[in-house]
Symmetry: C2
Subunit: 357 residues, 2 copies
Amino acid sequence: MSIHDFLAPPSVSCQRAGPNDRIVMSSRVRLARNLKKLPFPAWAKKPDRLRVLEAIQPAVESLPQLAPHFAVAMDDLAALDKQVLVERHLISREHAAKGAGSGLVVNQEESLCVMINEEDHLRMQAIRPGLQIKACWQSIDAVDSALESKLDFAFTPELGYLTACPTNLGTGIRVSAMLHLPGLVLAEEITRIINAANKLNFAVRGLYGEGTEALGNVFQVSNQMTLGESEAQIIERIGKALSQIIEEEENSRALLLEKKPNTVFNHIGRAYGILANAHTISSKETMNLLSLMRLGVDLGMFPSVDRSLTDELFLLTQPAHLQRQHTEKLGAEERDTLRSDMLRERLRTVPRPQPPK
Amino acid sequence: MSIHDFLAPPSVSCQRAGPNDRIVMSSRVRLARNLKKLPFPAWAKKPDRLRVLEAIQPAVESLPQLAPHFAVAMDDLAALDKQVLVERHLISREHAAKGAGSGLVVNQEESLCVMINEEDHLRMQAIRPGLQIKACWQSIDAVDSALESKLDFAFTPELGYLTACPTNLGTGIRVSAMLHLPGLVLAEEITRIINAANKLNFAVRGLYGEGTEALGNVFQVSNQMTLGESEAQIIERIGKALSQIIEEEENSRALLLEKKPNTVFNHIGRAYGILANAHTISSKETMNLLSLMRLGVDLGMFPSVDRSLTDELFLLTQPAHLQRQHTEKLGAEERDTLRSDMLRERLRTVPRPQPPK
């Protein structure tokens, strides 16, 4: 069975709902762990990497929390399949580049995903739709505890969990949320928010994490410190920050609608008009326009459209997902054409947006 | 009666058809004449200007060719009405700026229009839809002959008709056609065509004549020499040049459809998508997008739409025409909003473009 037969298609996975999912596309808690007395992946030789994989993979696979699950060595995944997993935010771009000794275990509802021999021996993450960082923490904490009884993690009482990169030392925790913030972008308030988050020691990044652009007005907010605070304190602190950003986004939207309704309708109308009528469109332009259409759905301008449609199209129009729908190898230009064909077809029955009543 | 009650509304006037009107929006022949022993308008004092008006206007009004006609002193026209006449290409921007002593006589079907005290004492023009420069010439020649029996034109056997500007000396004729050339623009062949036309001593200008931009891919081609060739030779020579440009435009369209159909559909689709969904749009953007939609109509991508719709919208979305539809004085921002409101409303029932079969 391929991983695509195992995972739900985007039409299904994008219907998973969660609290505040108007603005919070997903929440995630990731823990970094390493096995004692074995070199970190970056400077491990292949035999050591394989030993790590052989120790960790069965332990992870035995966990009832992940059932039913899919496990695969990165070596055995085609480049396209890896790219699809990156686009679904199940694995990092770095992990997609890994080969021998690296592996992946993911459960069917994509709520738990474990990378073996990424930057650390073990990176386990809990992912949920909407704002659910506490639930993510509880679920990944349970996985961590269960694994700790089977594996010998590198840990010192002074430093906590040892990690390949000192930025992860201590708790090894990274808590993050993927936020859709078109209101703050349109109101030109986003820089103020990013600066404020940075001052509170939170990182704000683009759609695919570190060093990536905020395409489609999607921003990833995460903690930067893993040392000196307990996991509970980190969750508490980022939870507050996220709630504040959500409120700021809601305020921006309300203020825009009150003060500059036409600017909002104009952006959304044009975005829809282009998506529904273009005959060639890049992935980047698509994401930015779908973001505006998603905002239009939130504002009630597309009464017949569910938010899951824009989210599904957001995923289906990404390069690897698009390639997956075609047998022949596509060049960038062909992808831009087929992407627009798909968008026109899917939006054919969607009536033009109307200002909300 | 106001001039607007006299002239047909754009919904009617834009339905006037002519040969080659896919590409040739209109043809025009203009003659410049001056009365003997009276100073040219630019350096005439008001009494002389009035004397010219009083001599010419009754002579023009008496012509059966212009019946039924509307005559008005520029002084008596509101600024907005003058601007409307400029947008309809009945008077020049320069004439719209004129006051005491300047006048206008236009017939109801807008095929004959006489400006009094523009740059010359008399500028009479015949205008027809499509490629009809010979017919324009015949009709304005008849007007000229009729007037010559009533008025004493400044003429010398060596120089021909004397004019305020030496570029009009001799025949005083300017033959021009308004061409819609989106194919040559999209194919990036337009510069080559303009250069070739210039080499043949034809001027290529924008939508509103000298020094104006080629908005909406509309180019005005006209003769530059009025001396040394007879009127018939000028008509013959520009007629050949226009036929060649028409052929080049048709070739460009065919070649684009054959080699880059997607690029064409993409431009047209996006143009329609924006026109039908924007909530604010400038006059300039509107003209450029309507030009692409007009091309789409020509290519059969809008089976339910007649070309007269795009031409009517082209006119109705211009600033003065737009202002005319509203009682309160509009600022630029309001015009952009009301323009988009009108476009959305008018395109509400126009289905999305489809590639031609």
